[in-house]
Amino acid sequence: MSVTGPKLQPTLFELSGPGRAAGRRIPQPPADALDRLPADALRATLPALPEIDEASLVRHYVNLSQLNWGVDTGFYPLGSCTMKYNPKVNEWAARLPGFAGLHPFAPDETAQGTLELLWELERDLAEISGMDAVTLQPAAGAQGELTGILLVRAYHRARGDPERTEILIPDSAHGTNPATASMAGFRTVNISSAPDGGVDLEAFRAALGPRTAAIMITNPSTLGLFERHIVELLEMVHAAGALAYMDGANLNAILGRFRPGAAGFDVMHFNVHKTFATPHGGGGPGAGPVGVRRPLVPFLPAPLVLREPDGTFRLERPGERPSSIGRMRGHVGNVGILVRAWAYIRAHGADGLREVSDDAVLAANYLRGRLEADGAFEIPFAGPCAHEFIASGAGLKRATGVRTLDVAKRLIDKGYHPPTIYFPHTVDEAMLIEPTETERLETLDAFADALLEIAREAHETPELVTSAPHSAPVRRLDEATAARQPNLRWLPADPAEPSRAG
């Protein structure tokens, strides 16, 4: 009945049948292979994992993939996510056997290619951001934030100033910011934004003091606006003896235009899965390198990548930098992802990266202009915007009862992934729209047309919008039951027949 109904798939367990799994992937072990192990250390029975022939397995996943939308499917204007095109040469690069097959404990002399790449990437990111050094270790932006805030903590303790227990964070910040502060043992002080969407300098001034360890600022902000008072803010922060952390999620707006370290930020993280086009993978993996100015260098996680006078590369040895905060995770980083980021930077060079931001900001302003001209959605903040902008469905809701959630679901019917909705929390019925630089002008126009059409539908046929989506593989989901009675794993109905459907 539904357009893609046949594609909805049974689970692997329901496809399973005794004896179906591919037989000859590896040689058979000898029958006595495990005899030397004590019986009480061994499983009593094989795990009830599915047995599936390869053809059925492939069909299962191919059909599932066709229920999914990626950047490769269509426009994905998710604000704060930078869903730009993921270059395929980067997939080739990461899969080169020399990179993919290298063990992380391989001796330095056998890892010279990767070490050289990582060393260059540390320097590329430092140059792009105006920072003095970069660690590539963090596995994601949030882990980069934690790294950065732990660096702040180490810095103040080393100065004999352990009473700095607060971090000031704008209320428009991504949730990871206050969550990070808590994980690092700091109290979050939420600072309201000013009516124009920027930081409220006076609110910051009032909150800054001897207990402030740092501020965490996203610049451009999560409202898509460059912080026009950034110079005063940074001066104020440093005058109070605190450090300035920049959440670099929105770096795509400022490549070649603003270098946070040079401007006065002390520490920042990068999201390579945003700015540097490494793919999002359905939720990850990414990587969250952290850049710092010189005063924080001693505390960086170890190991960093070093170049010797003879031109060879090596990892820092344990204990070589005693003030390091230690290790944030196993090994040196999400190297497979970092290879992709390196390739992206090399493909662009300085001019290419600056052009990325030029086009990202131009596209966002163009799309913003299309919506502002029509008026169906409020554009609450005066332009120009950076690489993303906020539109609000508050007026539409008052007039028709149709909410931003409904508009988002109806966009699916129009063939678009919805933008980010209800973030930041400081704007009512918010949509945060980030087109990126890799979308055609025709796509931007068609998206604007679709949004405005939905606004008209909201007036004329609101039930069509409030019951959307109609053409997706599934309709709206019962999230309440999913949370009240969590079903987080497949269990067969009849425990005596573990391979049968449940």
């Binding site: 591919a22 590896i26 992380p104 206050p178 359905g282 890799t438 002008l441 709206r476 989901l477 019962d478």
Partner: protein
């Protein structure tokens, strides 16, 4: 533009629509004092030159050696079907499934991953992934503190040193503490967790323990008395965290069997190549009652408005975007595509296939141990192991280097894995998997016998060109 579609004409049209003459005007908001000058980066490369440079760089890595290196990251046969599925753009270019109606592909594959790991561990709640084994171990330790409201954790020195170091970093900003439980020095239980010491550490009414963390197999490859460790932990009111290697779970008793409350581990062996450090897969699982303590995303089954079975991210209120400063963890981006790789790998092998991988590794390890003992390097510890073990090699670091120059990656010197422990100075940690060949074992044993019999000194010449 390198990857974008805009022509000068497109740009002109957008500028005209905005009524401005140049894109520079859109950046006027940046205060002049902080406007950037030109970035000094190597000029952009054509695709041809980029690929040539990457080939050169990757060619400088030596991945052709006979490798016996494990220590938590293992060389396994990865069926090509895994990568074929990872390369589907609908999977790898998708975002986090916040719009479930158009993300059923991602959602179902991760639900299946959760189900597979629940079956392997015996624990019903599996996070949709954490960063890696080390961070998953750290988060598991934090979970025990939240769940028990106690502030002290005990971690066996059998847990990987990198995991212990990561745990130390994650504990640094908190008021939580941890103590390490020593390993037995000699006798039949040498190299495993010292149960008497554990008992003493647990027996402190002033400092009750939230959780006890031990690994199976442990970092030295040895099997630990997990049941007894669990009993001691529970008797003291602490939770028990088992750090596990996922392929081994096809043959070893799983965490549920020895009453672990939480399981953590490194999922790389499940279909993910070594890649010099990541991206890997943090496995984190717990018993049902701890469901509200587990960080990270959870995918649940539900139904849609038409009654169709469907999947959705659930119990979201625990996560950072809603809980903010009260969230259990700040994790947002995870390792979703790696979880997909793991699921495809497990499904491609099936239970018998996964068991064969573990059992073949064990068989090869038996051969390896015999060959190396014969060559003069017996095992350091007497206890049972699965496919990894330490051998006694005098001056292990130097021998390791000389073997490297003969084209053999002889595991890792224990002195490098765990610096500053004199008792480990004469040890190499080696492993075998289904990829280890008889020829490689023979080469290693032959070279080692030669090294142990010859005088010390590092030979000149490139790696692999040492005399045979």
């Amino acid at each position: 533009m390198v990857y974008g579609p805009h022509t000068p004409d497109d740009r002109s049209r957008m500028l005209d629509a905005l009524g401005i003459g140049s894109v520079d005007e859109l950046f006027d908001v940046i205060p002049p004092a902080v406007r950037a000058g030109p970035m000094h980066l190597p000029p952009g490369l054509t695709e041809l030159d980029l690929m040539a440079r990457l080939r050169t760089l990757s060619g400088h890595n030596r991945v052709d050696l006979a490798s016996f290196l494990g220590a938590g990251i293992y060389r396994h046969h990865i069926p090509p079907v895994v990568d074929q599925i990872l390369l589907r753009g609908e999977f790898y270019t998708a975002y986090t499934p916040y719009q479930p109606e158009i993300s059923q592909g991602t959602l179902q594959t991760i639900y299946e991953y959760q189900s597979l790991l629940a079956e392997l561990t015996g624990l019903g709640v599996v996070s949709a992934s954490h960063y890696d084994g080390a961070t998953a171990t750290a988060e598991a330790a934090l979970m025990t503190c939240r769940a028990t409201r106690r502030e002290r954790v005990l971690v066996s020195r059998g847990v990987h040193p990198q995991s212990r170091q990561t745990l130390a970093t994650y504990f640094a900003g908190t008021n939580l503490t941890f103590d390490e439980v020593p390993l037995v020095h000699e006798g039949p239980a040498a190299g495993t967790t010292d149960l008497a010491a554990l008992g003493r550490l647990l027996d402190d009414p002033e400092r009750p323990v939230a959780g006890v963390v031990a690994a199976q197999p442990n970092v030295l490859g040895l099997l630990e008395p997990m049941g007894q460790i669990g009993q001691l932990a529970h008797a003291a009111g602490a939770l028990f965290v088992a750090v596990v290697e996922p392929v081994s779970l096809a043959v070893l008793a799983p965490p549920a069997a020895y009453e672990a409350d939480i399981a953590a581990g490194e999922g790389q062996p499940l279909g993910i190549p070594p890649q010099y450090g990541g991206p890997y897969l943090g496995i984190l699982a717990c018993r049902d009652p701890l469901i509200r303590q587990i960080p990270g995303r959870l995918i649940g089954m539900t139904s849609d408005a038409d009654g169709r079975r469907a999947y959705v991210m659930t119990m979201r209120a625990r996560e950072q975007d809603i809980r903010r400063e009260k969230a259990a963890s700040n994790i947002c981006t995870n390792q979703a595509l790696c979880a997909l790789a793991a699921a495809v790998y497990v499904a491609a092998l099936g239970p018998g296939g996964l068991r064969d991988v573990a059992a073949t590794g064990a068989a090869r390890a038996t051969e390896l141990a015999a060959a190396l003992a014969d060559a003069g390097a017996p095992r350091l510890h007497p206890g049972p192991y699965l496919n990894e073990f330490a051998i006694r090699v005098p001056d292990a670091v130097a021998v390791h280097r000389r073997l490297l120059h003969r084209g053999i990656l002889a595991g890792i010197p224990l002195a490098e894995l765990e610096p500053g422990v004199p008792a480990l100075a004469d040890g190499l940690l080696v492993c075998a998997t289904e990829c280890t060949t008889a020829e490689e074992i023979e080469l290693f044993a032959w070279a080692l016998r030669d090294e142990l019999g010859s005088r010390p000194g590092v030979p000149a010449g490139a790696i692999g060109e040492g005399s045979r």
